[in-house]
């Protein structure tokens, strides 16, 4: 059980950033994962007073504040219309409504958790993160970085024309996924994002041009076989690496078929 000596509701990002430079201080998102840890936090830094809890939509992009809840993502019509329901499908089975009202997109993305549905789906979209000091970078680059003392301010989803599909395999409806899979075709480029490998999600592209002629039953099957060989998986209490590698093929093929309207 974690202990906290001091609680500060930050009045500005600069104040939050300065506090966050001490290793004994921690930013709190939804506090759902943090709370299950152990040790002592000197100052819990709360960003909930900084107006980062809104989703703003323009013709070009969605700007999603770090403190937006997973339930807000699930219920946002514009985001789910653009993502063909992929974002909603990614979060709808995360524990329960109460949990999703508390869990934040910033906490989920910043944590780069190896079980994350949220990271998996946004990696399949044209997504960027804005860090307070580090500026804007692609989510793909951010996902491969190690955590530091910067602050995630918002994520940006560009409205690049395309389609996306999200699927996952769970042992039980509200459990962590055994494997999470999102595929998209954005401006003609196919992306496969695989999470819960059980390492952090990664993007895989159609480097061999298997889908260059479009999605057919055969090309979906061929790309799924390629993914099964390319995506590195591991074992944990929810499933073995062999099972996960099998799931990579199954979920990739199914997702591509759905993406192709089959």
């Amino acid at each position: 059980m974690i202990t906290i000596q001091k609680y500060v509701r930050a009045q500005s990002l600069e104040e939050a950033w300065e506090l966050n430079q001490s290793k004994r201080n921690r930013i709190i998102g939804g506090m759902l994962w943090l709370r299950l840890g152990s040790g002592s936090v000197n100052t819990a830094i709360d960003l909930s007073g900084l107006g980062l809890n809104t989703i703003e939509e323009t013709d070009e992009e969605f700007s999603i504040g770090a403190m937006v809840s997973l339930r807000d993502l699930e219920m946002h019509e514009g985001l789910n219309s653009y993502s063909c329901g992929a974002v909603k499908n990614a979060v709808k089975d995360i524990v329960g409504v109460q949990f999703r009202n508390m869990a934040t997109v910033g906490g989920s993305i910043w944590g780069r958790f190896g079980f994350s549905d949220v990271l998996t789906v946004f990696l399949a979209l044209d997504t960027y993160v804005e860090l307070y000091k580090g500026g804007i970078m692609s989510l793909e680059e951010f996902a491969s970085m190690r955590a530091d003392n910067d602050i995630l301010v918002r994520i940006i989803v560009k409205k690049t024309p395309g389609k996306a599909v999200y699927t996952s395999m769970r042992n039980q409806r509200t459990d962590f996924p055994v494997l999470a899979c999102a595929v998209s075709c954005l401006d003609g480029e196919y992306r496969l994002s695989v999470g819960a490998r059980p390492a952090r999600a990664r993007v895989f592209r159609d480097e061999k041009g298997i889908l260059a002629g479009g999605i057919t039953e055969q090309s979906a099957k061929d790309f799924a076989q390629y993914a099964g060989k390319t995506v590195h998986t591991g074992s944990n209490m929810r499933g073995s690496a062999v099972y996960r590698s099998h799931l990579v093929k199954v979920l990739t093929e199914r997702s591509l078929q759905e993406l192709g309207g089959m």
Partner: protein, 151 residues
């Protein structure tokens, strides 16, 4: 630190530590319907409404609730009484331990979606665990309540 919030329609203040959990604060204030279940944000037993939205009070810092409005089952007796009899009629309360969480989340469901389908009920209440009933009794109870309201 001092916090001030609205609890069941009344202004309350209290002195809390930085890591005091909202659940403990609410129980200190006499709201004993708010129970500690799994203590890992999974079972829904500690559900309260914060600014109208269901949340898990076991995972919310009391300090974070400062300035917000909290409702527990103690403050929503009338709204709960509309449908809890239907759930009891189905024998779904059994040991009763999970009931306050179920009732609070059902209130949130019916406020957001007054006429939910069975799938919508299952989806909304998926975060409330019950070790007695297998969930069918609660589902039948809510369905019967909805049917009675339509009649």
């Amino acid at each position: 630190m001092e916090i001030k919030l609205k609890l069941n329609g009344r202004a309350v203040t209290g002195s809390v530590d930085a890591d005091t959990i909202l659940l403990d604060f609410l129980r200190q204030k006499g709201c004993l319907s708010v129970k500690r279940g799994c203590d890992t944000s999974n079972c829904g037993l500690c559900t309260v409404l914060m600014d109208g939205k269901p949340i898990l009070s076991c995972s919310m810092l009391a300090a974070r609730a400062d300035g917000h409005e909290i409702y527990t089952l103690e403050g929503l007796q009338e709204e709960a009484a509309e449908f809890t009899g239907f759930i009891a009629d189905q024998g779904a309360d059994q040991c009763g331990f999970c009931n306050p969480g179920f009732v609070m989340n059902t209130i949130a469901l019916l406020r957001e979606n007054p006429d939910p389908s069975d799938d919508e009920i299952r989806a909304f209440l998926a975060g409330n665990l019950c070790r007695c009933s297998g969930y069918e009794g609660q589902l039948r109870g809510i369905r019967t309540f909805l049917e009675s309201r339509r009649a």
